[in-house]
Amino acid sequence: MQKKMWRRGLLLFALLCLAACHHGMEPVAFHDDGYPAKLSDWHVVEARDGVLQLNEGVVPYELNTPLFTDYAHKLRTIWMPKGVSAKYSPTDTFDFPVGTIISKTFFYPIPKNGARNATDVARTYDTSRDFIAPGQGLNLAEAHLIETRLLIRRKDGWLAIPYVWNAGQTDAMLARTGDVQALTLVSDSGERENFNYVVPDQSQCASCHARDWTTRTIQPIGPKARHLNRDYRYADGDENELAHLIRVGYLAGAPSPADAPRNANWMDTHASLDARARAYLDINCGHCHNPKGAANTTGLTLDIATPEDRHIGICKPPTAAGQGTGDHLFDIVPGHPDDSILPYRLSSTETGTMMPELGRSTMHREGVALIKAWIAAQSGDCMVLH
């Protein structure tokens, strides 16, 4: 009862200061050199008054199908200096101007039926408790902040900087060497799962963000047309994210959303199994498994442009899987998910076997189920020649 009351009070307070809050923040500070010690030095998102506030001009967004990170929820934002905008691309990451700051805050809702403690976090797809109000900041009474990663577009290219939230949840501190936190996922039904939440070190950021391992330049992954072509619940109502970015001046040269590519939402049961699985593989695997990425040594490509044949793994013998084959002969055996390497590696949490190699310590049950269903629905076989 008491809890409810203060929650309500907090909400009321939050609503009251909605309009005023970010005016209390200093303007976003773009640092064109060095590594500021605190996240708050950037004034992009800040923990103030029980809310993770978004500063003025900091635009939140979501992806049609997001990367799985141990069931963490994510708040993604873009900020740009006045007078510049990103250039649209139908296929690649938008070409962002110098001065752009992209942030991604990883957090978990507090488990519903337990007292808040240092390590219990909710495993849930329910995001209804995350925000104080649509399009506004995160409700810190209901959320446990883990880390905020910044992607900074400086003159000489993108830079990734990890920040880890402090114990008091008041600010996040520079963590170039990353972090490991022992947490417990608690499902809505009370099921518990211990795991190590791993904040990548700065070099590991590039493991995923260096889309081309020859040039080694890093890029944001999410801000592509096909991921952003969806609605977002902004403070002033629902709007397509591409349309919104155009309207606020952050994006130029984009067609109308109807003419832009769009990945499926992997959880959307109205979308085809194929579209959902391909969207899932695209965002979870495609940053390495593309023709120029880290995994182009394997001959297995899993980005959205890959034709649905051996390139995506159908009957393809593995190249460098090592113990990751799990005694299976091919990446995908049509109709036989349990004989296929792909779901085997997605199901594993063992380093050396699991895929993706970085960024998760737990199995994504629902994601694995989707990929298995997709393979089960495929036809034909892998007849071995002698």
Binding site: F13, T119, S203, R310, D327, F330, E350
Partner: protein, 411 residues
């Protein structure tokens, strides 16, 4: 009013958010680990990261993305980076950089690959020991020293023990020298795969499943050719295959000395090859791996070994106890219980479309000299009509030029 609510909201947060490290780690190891991570992050071209003698326990995979860096220990038995109980991978050390040198240290017990260099030129690995200390196990990491998509690569004076795939593996690379190394108790001791211009010499490979492998796999960025394997000691590679099925090396029978699979222009000479119980030399095609299927393999893939030249080796023993029921049965049927396969075994898959006179064009032939015999096991017909006729192999091939590293490594 506002303040009170804030205070109430903040209290549980303060008490609650005391993060703890999961895996217990010695504080000195933890501070070493973060210091080394920091050094790798801060490295500039020309940086030398010196790691003093000591046994360091690391829980997280390391990575380096700056070119021109040297990582140097005090000796392969003095500076030991142990990844036993590693909780974050994927490798021990991952490098995506040019002009990289690593020397005089050991990496032990990584969960995945030990030292992977993915895309880079001018790579030198000198005096490095990679070891899985629990002996050969299929749960060991796959690759020991693992440059892939690299150019101008030197691996020398190093030791690799216990890899569940290949100990020293050079893949999809060009201009390679692998010399004076010792590889033992791996599935593959040394493997050159889809690589062009490799010299493999003065190495010792023993107690692996297969000693030295020269392979071409399908669906990759380049086909391999031009590897010279010479002046190595390749003996008693009889460890049971402990790779997981599906891996290319899982198809290698225990007791294999030097194996060529689907690769072209391979010269094997002046080696001491002894006591490898399936055969001292095996020449085979991708068909024999049992992974070849038309849906999963690129149509332009060439599964036939072409231009293979074996001469001037010193063979001893071997072939007396081949791995697998079919080969065992064949050996007993042809040579008796106490007999042995000859020095060289060929799986018998030939590119018959390109054999106008019943033999491959001169430069595509398999030429074998100075061996006590060649057995064609007739793989295409399930070992029905094996042949010991050496006439098809009586030929010579133009010799390959030595590999010249350019620039030459500074070590």
């Amino acid at each position: 009013m506002r303040k009170i609510y804030l205070l109430i909201a903040a209290l549980p947060l303060l008490a609650a958010c005391n993060h703890q490290e999961n895996a217990a780690q010695n504080p000195s190891d933890a501070s070493f680990e973060s210091k080394l991570q920091q050094q790798l992050l801060d490295a500039k071209p020309g940086s030398v990261i010196d790691i003093p003698a000591g046994h360091y326990s690391l829980k997280r995979g390391l990575s380096l993305r700056t070119s021109g860096v040297t990582i140097r220990g005090a000796g392969m038995d003095k500076t030991v980076l142990s990844f036993k109980g590693q909780i974050v991978g994927p490798e021990g050390l991952l490098v995506n950089a040019d002009d990289f040198t690593v020397e005089n240290l050991a990496i032990e017990d990584t969960m995945g690959d030990a030292l992977k260099i993915n895309q880079g030129k001018n790579i030198t690995i000198h005096g490095v020991r990679i070891e899985w200390t629990g002996g050969p196990k299929s749960t060991n990491g796959a690759y020991g020293l693992y440059p892939v998509k690299t150019q101008n690569v030197l691996i020398e004076d190093s030791v690799v023990i216990g890899a569940s795939d290949a100990g020293i593996y050079v893949g999809q690379s060009n201009t390679i020298v692998v010399r004076r190394n010792r590889a033992e108790q791996n599935v593959a001791g040394i493997e050159i795969e889809n690589s062009v211009n490799a010299d493999v010499y003065d190495n010792i490979t023993t107690k692996n499943t297969g000693g030295i492998l020269v392979f071409n796999m399908p669906n990759l960025s380049q086909a391999g050719r031009a590897t010279r394997v010479f002046h190595n000691k390749v003996f008693a590679n009889n460890t049971g295959n402990f790779a997981k099925k599906g891996a290319a090396v899982a198809s290698v029978p225990a007791g294999s000395g030097v194996v060529v699979n689907s690769n072209d222009k391979v010269e094997i000479f002046d080696n001491d090859i002894a006591d490898n119980q399936t055969a001292n030399v095996i020449i085979s095609s991708y068909f024999s791996t049992n992974y070849y299927n038309t849906r999963g393999v690129a149509a332009d893939y060439n599964p036939y070994p072409k231009g293979i030249y074996v001469y001037g080796n010193r063979f001893k023993g071997g072939g007396d106890s081949p791995d697998g029921l079919k080969l065992k049965t064949l050996k007993t049927a042809m040579y008796g219980i106490n007999g042995s396969f000859p020095d060289v075994v060929w799986d018998g898959y030939a590119d018959t479309k390109h054999q106008p006179d019943g033999l491959p064009p001169p430069n595509d032939r398999i030429c074998i000299q100075d061996a006590n015999g060649v057995l064609n096991v007739d793989g295409p017909h399930d070992y029905k009509s094996p042949s010991t006729d050496t006439k098809p192999f009586q030929c010579t091939l133009p010799k390959l030029p030595p590999v010249a590293l350019n620039p030459e490594p500074k070590v």
